[in-house]
């Protein structure tokens, strides 16, 4: 028995040794990286992105190709890549930045998400890079601005998304419906579908930002492009009658059975699968989903042929249909604490340049950089979307992205209550004012 104890405590000691060795290992890696940077001979740039092979195969492949090309052109630089899926990525960013260990290059979201990182001096300012390489002109107007803070840019946007309502052409034809141009027409479409026992709109409001997009469009159509923005930046108010009216319109839709039943408990993925399995006639989502309706071979051809889209309709004769909800998705940041910052910046600008063309033609991503759509062979829907972008009068950045993290959570929770008919439009406005005034 005594001997057993001795053995087990030895095992514990050995385990401790392993833990210590594990810590040591990562330290060594860092030292190596910094040495390389100082001498200018060889450098390792750590790069973290959020497109795993499983869920974003095309993105993943293009990233790998760009890295290979970059390494071939710059034989002294090695890219050390780490991939995480969306939610884990966000957690990892928080954990790494709290210990000053962000990768040299990584992905970030715009506006509100950026704030704590910029305030904590985690991201390197990129204005210089944008000017000296003439990189600034490559971006679609309005995209870089979302990554700006106090006149300095902290991220290079990769994607640009606008939100549309997609609809199932086959279901519409079956009931003699056409894509609505006005809110009244939309209501008629919904009524007809309801009468025929077809779920009109797929909505996964467990994720809450999905519902927020509906609210944002009503706010834009009723209150104009500035109503919501100024309420968020405090030059206006959420108690603006137009914004209260927008909230009321959302509840009107809910009361008319416009959304699939139990939408507040469904994830966006579940709602999407309902739309893609012909179980619902309409679905609002941003253009990041375009591949599913055009090129993605995993989606049945028959379904892809049947998908159409329409711009969010005007409401009571008000609103501009060329005003969009959307914004840049992820962008690249360079870590302020990077030991190989020059190489990291070099890689980031190379990546952005290469990404543009390949992204749209191969992965079906609308990039944030200017792309000449005419020279590429693209599905019709892409050409139309790129045209819409050229004609767009306004792009309103997603509300939860514009807001600081804690206000965004309040907004999203309130969206869920609004859709769940738990609060009135007035309370909805009031609670937003409360949250924003505490900032």
């Amino acid at each position: 028995m005594v001997k057993m104890k001795a053995i087990s405590s030895f095992a514990a000691l050995a385990a401790l040794g392993l833990v210590a060795a594990g810590c040591g290992g990562s330290d060594d890696a860092n030292v190596e990286g910094s040495n390389g940077g100082d001498s200018g001979e060889s450098a390792t740039v750590e790069f973290m992105h959020l497109w795993p092979q499983g869920s974003s195969a095309e993105h993943h492949r293009i990233v790998n190709e760009i890295i290979e090309d970059f390494e071939a052109e710059n034989s002294n630089i090695t890219i050390d890549m780490q991939v995480l899926s969306n939610e884990q990525y966000k957690d990892q960013m928080t954990v790494l930045s709290s210990s000053n260990q962000l990768p040299d290059v990584g992905m970030t979201w715009a506006a509100g998400y950026l704030d704590p990182f910029v305030n904590g001096n985690q991201f390197a300012p990129l204005n210089e890079l944008l000017e000296e390489e003439g990189l600034r002109d490559d971006f679609v107007a309005g995209t870089l601005e979302a990554y700006e803070k106090d006149g300095e840019t902290y991220g290079l946007p990769l994607e640009l998304n606008t939100v549309y309502v997609y609809y199932n052409q086959a279901i519409f034809d079956e009931h003699g419906l056409e894509a609505p141009e006005t809110y009244d027409e939309l209501e008629e479409v919904i009524n007809t579908l309801d009468e025929n026992n077809v779920e009109p709109i797929a909505l996964g409001n467990r994720d809450r930002w999905t519902g927020s997009m509906w609210y944002m469009y009503f706010a834009d159509r009723i209150g104009g492009e500035d109503a919501l923005n100024s309420a968020i930046d405090r030059s206006g108010s959420f108690e603006d009658p137009a914004l209260v009216e927008a909230a009321a319109k959302v509840q009107e839709l809910v009361q008319n059975d416009s959304f699939v039943s139990g939408f507040n408990g469904l994830a966006d993925e579940e709602a999407k699968s309902m739309f893609m399995n012909d179980q619902a006639a309409m679905y609002m989502i941003a253009t990041w989903d375009l591949p599913n309706y055009t090129t993605n071979e995993d989606v049945p051809q028959e379904f892809r042929d049947n998908v159409g889209y329409f711009k969010f309709p005007t409401v009571d004769g008000e609103g501009d249909k060329d005003s969009f909800v959307g914004g840049p998705g992820v962008g690249l940041f360079v870590s302020e604490n990077s030991d190989v910052q020059d190489e990291a910046k070099q890689f980031a600008s190379y990546f952005v340049n290469e990404w543009g063309e390949r992204a749209v033609s191969e992965a079906g991503v609308i990039p944030a950089t200017v792309v000449d759509g005419e020279e590429l062979e693209l599905p019709d829907m892409y050409v139309e979307v790129l045209e819409d972008l050229n004609q767009a009068t306004n792009l309103t950045l997603y509300a939860d992205v514009q807001m600081s993290a804690s206000v965004a959570q309040t907004h999203l929770d309130l969206i869920q209550s609004l859709f769940g008919l738990e609060i009135t439009p007035e309370e909805f406005a009031e609670r937003h004012e409360e949250a924003l005034s505490q900032e």
Partner: protein
């Protein structure tokens, strides 16, 4: 050798590695969490000492207490469900046919990861094409409940898979304990004319009371800090209707970037769990343990 083992220095030396591991992985982070709770900190930038403000805010935070209420409700349900598990274990332990097979079946949920269980039950609960509502509609129910979307029932909808998930674990523990009761005692009772019910309540239950107490503590602690299924299935929603202490803490720290306040909530969670554990132990303390 015995002399060596009674030497305090050797004892210290032997427990040192385990103590170090525990210290580094558990106790130091615990203390740090309490310390972070004293700060205003977004998790990224520099910290600012603000004294007990966070803790005072937690105590006045309605959302926190509502979440705590949900956690306690889960603890209550978990504890009550132990009765069912115990009954099942008793039936399995009495020599019925196929008990071995059934025991294995009950254990399957334990082998699945929480995320897999969550996905499974999300499918079952799907309001329009989920198994449960299909069956209800087949039975003629016009508007079957929106299990995960209705704020009034969402909490109970999630309790079901949580209790289901741990059933096998507790049944296994009870089964092992019941199997440890010497056959001769049961035989003697039978000869004296005891009915099966009497044997269960007067012989078996008192003999495994020690184990039952442990499972009560386990169930309560496990419930108070429960997180995973709830997080995957509803994320605490709709609008906080299924929020528990741990998911609220996680949201504050990782979604709101409010690590200071999140840490304070985490520390409160620890204090509450400790307090409840002490109370439960006190309540179930017995002067004399029954021995075979």
């Amino acid at each position: 050798m015995n002399k060596v083992m009674s030497d305090k220095w050797f004892i210290t030396l032997y427990i040192l590695p385990a103590m170090l591991l525990l210290g580094i992985l558990i106790f130091i982070p615990l203390i740090l969490t309490g310390y972070y709770g004293l700060m205003r900190w977004d998790g990224i930038g520099s910290m600012e000492f603000i004294g007990l403000t966070n803790y005072i805010n937690v105590i006045q935070d309605g959302v926190f207490w509502r979440s705590a209420g949900h956690s306690f409700l889960l603890a209550l349900f978990s504890t009550l469900s132990l009765i069912i598990y115990l009954a099942v274990a008793m039936i399995l332990a009495s020599k019925i046919k196929g008990s071995d097979f059934l025991r294995k079946i009950y254990l399957i949920p334990m082998l699945l990861s929480s995320v897999a269980i969550a996905q499974l039950w999300i499918k079952i609960y799907n309001p329009s094409n989920g198994m449960l509502n299909e069956i209800l509609r087949g039975l003629g129910v016009q508007n079957p409940p929106l299990w995960l979307a209705d704020p009034n029932i969402v909490l109970y909808s999630i309790f079901v898979p949580i209790l289901w998930q741990y059933a096998g674990f507790y049944i296994l523990i009870y089964y092992a304990a019941l199997k440890g009761i010497p056959e001769s005692i049961v035989e003697a009772a039978k000869i004296d004319g005891a009915t099966p019910v009497q044997i269960a309540f007067k012989i078996k239950l008192p003999l495994i009371m020690g184990v039952v107490k442990v499972t009560v503590v386990l169930a309560i602690i496990g419930s108070l800090k429960y997180f995973d299924l709830i997080w995957v299935m509803t994320g605490g929603g709709p609008n906080g209707a299924s929020e528990v202490m741990a998911s609220y803490m996680y949201k504050l720290a990782f979604a709101n970037n409010n690590f200071g306040y999140g840490s304070a909530v985490a520390f409160m969670l620890l204090l509450i769990t400790l307090l409840v554990t002490l109370v439960v132990r006190k309540l179930t303390a017995d002067k004399e343990e029954i021995q075979y």
